[in-house]
């Protein structure tokens, strides 16, 4: 019994050490590769949310109204969750301009998603938004290639 308990304790300690190894010191600027990785991830998340919105908008007459509304809310929530840590982290000194562009793009994506969600919830026309979403998606793709190299 004692040996089993010790084994569980060792496993918990190993897990704790591994988790601690993944955290970074708050306030210090991210390294170049870490920042690029974060930017890639957050822009990917924004593209994912806009991609989901694109599928909803292209099929909104075929989807039940509550389903479309919840799907778009989920897309916004997901983008908020992913962008939170990026927005609070400090970029490397030579990446401030790129960082500003990423932050601005995230803001535009969030605003657009909110407009889409509001329009769909209110059963308003979404034809113009379809084109906006497609364009925003392509712009994010370009920005991701430029700043994150993927």
């Amino acid at each position: 019994m004692r040996r089993a308990g010790a084994l569980v304790a060792v496993l918990l300690v190993v897990l704790l050490v591994l988790l601690c190894a993944c955290t970074t010191r708050a306030g210090s600027p991210a390294g170049e590769s870490a920042w690029r990785e974060q930017a890639d991830k957050v822009l990917g998340a924004a593209m994912s949310s806009l991609g989901t919105a694109r599928v909803v908008l292209e099929n909104d007459t075929d989807l039940p109204h509550p389903y479309a509304v919840v799907t778009l809310q989920d897309a916004i929530t997901s983008l908020h969750r992913e962008s939170g840590s990026f927005l609070t982290s400090r970029p490397p000194d030579d990446r401030h301009t790129d960082n500003d562009r990423v932050v601005a793009a995230l803001g535009e994506a969030t605003t657009l998603l909110t407009r889409v969600s509001t329009a769909v919830a209110a059963n308003a026309g979404t034809a113009a938004l379809r084109e906006s979403v497609r364009k925003a998606y392509d712009d994010l793709d370009d920005l991701r290639t430029k700043v994150a190299g993927s």
Binding site: M1, R3, A4, L7, V8, V14, L15, L18, L19, A21, C22, K41, G44, A45, M47, S48, G51, T52, R54, V55, V56, N59, D62, L63, P64, P66, Y67, V69, V70, T71, D74, A75, T77, S78, Y137, S150
Partner: protein
């Protein structure tokens, strides 16, 4: 004729009951990111769960006792405790994820915030665990779970490039923008989702609940070897749907709403209505199974009276565990934790706990004192040993991969 209907019902409920929140989410995520390039992992996992479910079903038939009861007796209280702790943690996590999954599915149908639905779901799950007959619970929810066949219909309607999907399935290759570490992480998660430990405990305890005898061995094997693989095909259909709709747009699946969206694209409102029935049935059924499995494992280890085949007042401690587990599940979800994240952790946790779950079953199934003439044969032992090596490798890799890939992100 009655025997034929019994066989068909068993197979259909095995198909409908195979998919749970872990399968739904993990297959959809993998399909969107990797196409069907991890399809063979699903096949490997389904074959593995067939091997060990058949073994544990045979143990239940031969001994009329369930797995934990025998594990403690055969391997002693220390190994039994290790097995109990590991599987209880994973099963509890899965239970929480399933309750959250039911709430998310109902939220999709109603637009009501899932936090308002969670307590009602918890109450309903507990009522079913307390009052409903075992066979009624299994058959009704298993048959309703068949609604998930709509994924196969949707995939056919989406008309993907079948040659491309087949090529992806049979070649070990990842998409260019993904790295091998993430690929390996999702392989382990898919394997864990397919071989979730609770499925085996529930299956063997269910055999005792339904008083299986040697006459039922054929039915049990048909359920396992026909029903489970067909359930596995549903998993592949889910991945195929998200690969077709989301793959070209680089969409990452992190909400249940996205899992069903390809069905809406293919089949419209009717498709969404059917898939929501499937979501609710699959997650509610799995919530009942995992809730019962928590009670089964603890009661069997401690030698308490357990099961739904006795009146609640004859198994009070077992029913108290069910109440407490349900309350814990609801309380955790009411903190606002994302049920999809709980699901992701639970499938990786499953992978970690696999050896502790399946090794004792292999040992007991080889003991002639319990099994008599139905002791493991050469094929069962060969497959069991090969799978034991695979599950040990998956268990060792699971936590490092989880940390190194940041949960596959």
């Amino acid at each position: 004729m009655k025997k034929f209907f019994g066989l068909a019902l068993g197979i259909l409920t095995a198909i409908g009951g195979f998919v749970d929140i872990g399968d739904l989410v993990t297959n959809a995520q993998v399909g969107a990111r990797f196409g069907l390039s991890l399809g063979l992992v699903v096949v490997l996992g389904v074959l593995g769960i067939c091997v060990f479910a058949e073994m544990s079903g045979r143990v239940a038939v031969c001994s009329n006792r369930a797995t934990f009861d025998l594990v403690r007796e055969r391997l002693g209280p220390r190994v039994g405790l290790l097995n109990l702790v590991a599987s209880m943690i994973v099963t509890l996590l899965t239970f929480i994820a399933e309750i959250g999954g039911v709430a998310l599915a109902l939220s999709l149908a109603s637009s009501v915030n899932d936090l308002l639905i969670i307590p009602i779901v918890g109450l309903l799950v507990w009522l079913v665990l307390w009052r409903a007959r075992f066979s009624l619970m299994e058959n009704v929810l298993g048959l309703l779970g068949l609604a998930l066949v709509v994924f196969a219909v949707a995939l056919w309607k989406l008309d993907p490039s079948w040659g491309h999907l087949a090529h992806q399935t049979f070649t070990v290759a990842k998409p260019g923008d993904e790295d091998w570490m993430t690929y390996a992480y999702y392989a382990v998660a898919l394997f864990g989702a397919a071989m979730t430990p609770y499925e085996v405990f529930f299956f063997s305890s269910g055999g005792v609940e339904e008083k299986w005898t040697e006459k039922d061995l054929g039915q049990m094997r048909a359920n396992v070897f026909v029903g489970f693989p067909l359930g596995g095909l549903l998993s592949l259909a889910i991945a195929g749907c998200t690969a077709t709709v989301f793959g070209p747009l680089d969409v990452q699946v992190d909400a249940l709403s996205q899992v069903g969206l390809p069905v809406g694209v293919a089949l419209g409102k009717i498709g969404i209505a059917i898939v929501l029935v499937g979501f609710v049935a699959a997650t509610f059924g799995a919530a009942c199974e995992t809730g019962l499995s928590v009670g089964y494992s603890l009661a069997q280890y401690l030698g308490w009276q357990w099961g739904k085949f006795v009146r609640p007042d004859e198994a009070t401690r077992f029913h108290v565990v069910l109440v407490l587990a349900t309350m814990l599940g609801v309380a955790v979800l009411m903190t606002g934790v994302d049920p999809i994240m709980v699901t992701e952790i639970s499938v990786v946790g499953s992978a970690v706990a696999l050896p502790l779950t399946y090794f004792p079953i292999l040992v007991v199934a080889n003991d002639r004192d319990y099994m008599g003439e139905h002791v493991n044969g050469t094929l069962a032992n060969a497959l069991g040993t090969v799978y034991l090596v695979v599950v040990v490798l998956a268990a060792l890799a699971a936590l490092p991969l989880l940390v190194l890939t940041g949960m596959g992100s």
